[in-house]
């Protein structure tokens, strides 16, 4: 336990001395709320007194994304809707810092000679990554809320909103990033290249899921003639169609994207607006307990594989 804590402290000492962490935090904490606030100010200035606001919709829209609650929700949701997502960029960055760099700087032999408890070193690296992610998400929540508070000084917005829900979703999203972090560590360690590992972390899940989509389309083209075969094929098809519910990306971002429908409603979209083919990819229809269970499964598999590799591999 002490060795793990030592490893966490050592990794954080290193992590907080990396400029790239502050660059990412700056973009996430400051740029996003600033853009949202400027957009809200422009909307308010141009539309609030116009015919478009006869039903008070503009105020509703501004409350939806520029109020303190709206900003907090945006800070959670926006990184999950980017491509590649902001979350996976952060995870890849920390994997590069804590695992990839050990290889590029030939530091494994030094690190493991200084602290020979390999599992403690790995646990320390995972915990340090999770702590930096917590700082990143916590900082985003704080800065976004603060920007929303500033917005209340000149925008028709209030503090109202389900704060408990958004805070809970932040925590759940952070916990689910553990699986992504472990996948990133595993890939970087497996391919023995920081750069290739980081590229794989960003693109591999999407690539596999895209491959599924292509195969799914092709499977529909297969002619079926016998009745029995039709039933079999339908069963298979149902299982195949249920597969996205276990996809890495769909489940990983489920907490952040959980607020997408309420957000769309707040912008005036009709109740129960259908997102069409995007629905599956955005994890709509996936419940939070389901997503948490699936990601826990992924974390277990990735964690076990990484631990096995770290424990057994010779350090050259």
């Amino acid at each position: 336990m002490r060795a793990t804590l030592n490893a966490v402290r050592a990794e954080l000492f290193k992590g907080f001395r990396k400029r790239r962490f502050y660059l990412l935090a700056g973009l996430y904490w400051v740029l996003l709320p600033a853009v949202a606030l400027i957009t809200a100010a422009v909307l308010d200035h141009n539309l609030t007194g116009s015919f478009a606001n006869q039903g008070g919709q503009i105020g509703q829209v501004l409350q939806g994304f520029a109020s303190p609650f709206g900003m907090a929700r945006l800070a959670l949701m926006a990184p999950a809707l980017m491509s590649p997502t902001g979350y996976i960029v952060a995870v890849a960055l920390f994997a590069g810092l804590f695992i990839g760099e050990e290889r590029t700087q030939r530091m494994w032999k030094t690190v493991l000679a200084v602290q020979p408890a390999r599992m403690s070193v790995l646990a320390g690296k995972v915990l340090a990554g999770m702590i930096l992610l917590a700082v990143l998400l916590g900082g985003a929540l704080a800065f976004a809320t603060l920007a929303g508070v500033v917005g209340t000084l000149f925008l028709p917005t209030t503090f109202a909103g389900p704060w408990g829900q958004v805070a809970g979703l932040f925590v759940l999203q952070w916990l689910q990033l553990l699986a992504a972090l472990l996948l990133a560590y595993l890939l970087v360690f497996l391919v023995r290249s920081g750069t290739l590992g980081i590229i794989l972390v960003i693109f591999l899940p999407a690539l596999l899921e895209g491959l599924y989509t292509v195969l799914n389309t092709l499977s529909l083209l297969r002619p079926l003639t016998r009745v029995n075969a039709v039933f079999q094929a339908l069963r298979l098809k149902q299982a195949w169609e249920a597969l996205p519910h276990y996809f890495f990306s769909a489940n990983l971002y489920a907490p952040a994207r959980h607020l997408l429908q309420p957000f769309l409603r707040s912008t005036g979209a009709p109740e129960g607006a259908d997102l069409g083919p995007l629905s599956n990819l955005l994890g709509q229809g996936i419940t939070l307990p389901h997503a948490a269970a699936v990601m826990a499964g992924y974390a277990l598999v990735f964690g076990a594989l990484t631990a096995w590799l770290v424990a057994r591999r010779d350090v050259e």
Partner: protein
């Protein structure tokens, strides 16, 4: 309790047998030189002792406990090219290692920096360090937690003569405190000045394990080296060649030559009969380099 034990240590990489059944014991406080030509298996052995590489067969113990294990926390290592986080300063790199290892007070970082005469460069980022400075910093890091055993692979690589002398002095100081040192180096005169015992490996197998004097004595028993001065250097070299020897010129009218022990007594009379007027003849002791080359052959000449 032995400080280091290797029992039938074997490492195979695919078809390549890097280390082949190596066995030795090193007692606490011993300073042992680990010699062998490139590719002899020295670094692989040191890596196995440091718990970085798993032996294919055999086992090693450090301070009476099996490797890998907690006993490695009492071992300081410097294996091959030292590595650091280049964006951190020398001091920050040592601080990182101290925290990672645990139980190292902050003032110890200053102590090892001072011990290795690195105080002035401590705040510079490591990316700006010369090879010699990196070697010193690596040695400082290996000493951070006051280890009982030091495993050093080419610790004087890249150092200038003054740096080599400083590292030698530092290692002697450390050894006087009872630290066991296993040191591999190609700079044989340095090893000769530092160690009491030699382990020599070749092609993964142990070729010699014994006191330094034993190895030198074995070499000295067969050959005697002479440094000769004559009135005519050219005539001296010709006469030595005529005696079937392979002299090397030395100074204006001198030569160095290794003479088989059986011919040593007849050397001067042989030169006199060939008309060479010898002014001075100094008989030298066999060097570790002579002994090493005799042991591993000319192909093992250090690079």
């Amino acid at each position: 309790m032995t400080a280091i034990t290797a029992s039938a240590l074997t490492k195979r990489y695919g078809h390549v047998l890097a280390v082949d059944g190596l066995s030795f014991d090193i007692q606490p406080g011993e300073i042992v030189g680990f010699l062998g030509p490139n590719g002899a298996g020295k670094t692989t052995t040191l890596r196995m002792l440091a718990g970085l590489v798993r032996p294919t067969r055999g086992r090693c113990q450090m301070l009476g406990r099996r490797v890998p294990g907690p006993s490695l926390l009492e071992v300081g290592t410097m294996i091959e090219e030292p590595s650091f986080y280049p964006y951190l300063s020398g001091r920050a790199n040592l601080h990182h290692a101290a925290v990672l290892h645990g139980g190292v007070p902050e003032r110890r970082v200053d102590e090892v920096l001072e011990f290795m005469r690195m105080e002035l460069a401590a705040e510079k980022r490591v990316r700006a360090y010369s090879q010699g400075m990196r070697q010193r910093l690596a040695l400082a890091r290996a000493l951070l937690w006051k280890p009982k055993v030091l495993l050093l692979d080419e610790p004087t690589n890249g150092l200038d003569p003054a740096g080599i002398a400083e590292v030698r002095a530092a290692l002697k100081t450390v050894a006087m405190q009872g630290v066991t040192v296993l040191i591999s180096s190609h700079i044989l005169p340095e090893i000769e000045k530092l160690v009491e015992r030699i382990l020599a490996v070749d092609k993964g197998s142990l070729r010699f394990d014994g006191p330094l004097q034993g190895l030198l004595g074995a070499a000295g028993a067969n050959t005697v080296s002479y440094e000769l001065e004559a009135t005519d250097g050219r005539a001296l070299l010709d006469a030595l060649a005529d005696l079937g020897l392979k002299p090397t010129p030395h100074g204006d009218a001198g030569a160095r030559v290794a003479v088989p022990a059986a011919l040593a007594t007849d050397l001067l009379s042989g030169l006199a009969t060939r008309g060479v007027d010898v002014l001075e003849a100094r008989r030298g002791a066999a060097s570790l380099e002579d002994a090493y080359l005799r042991l591993v052959g000319a192909e093992g000449r250090p690079s």
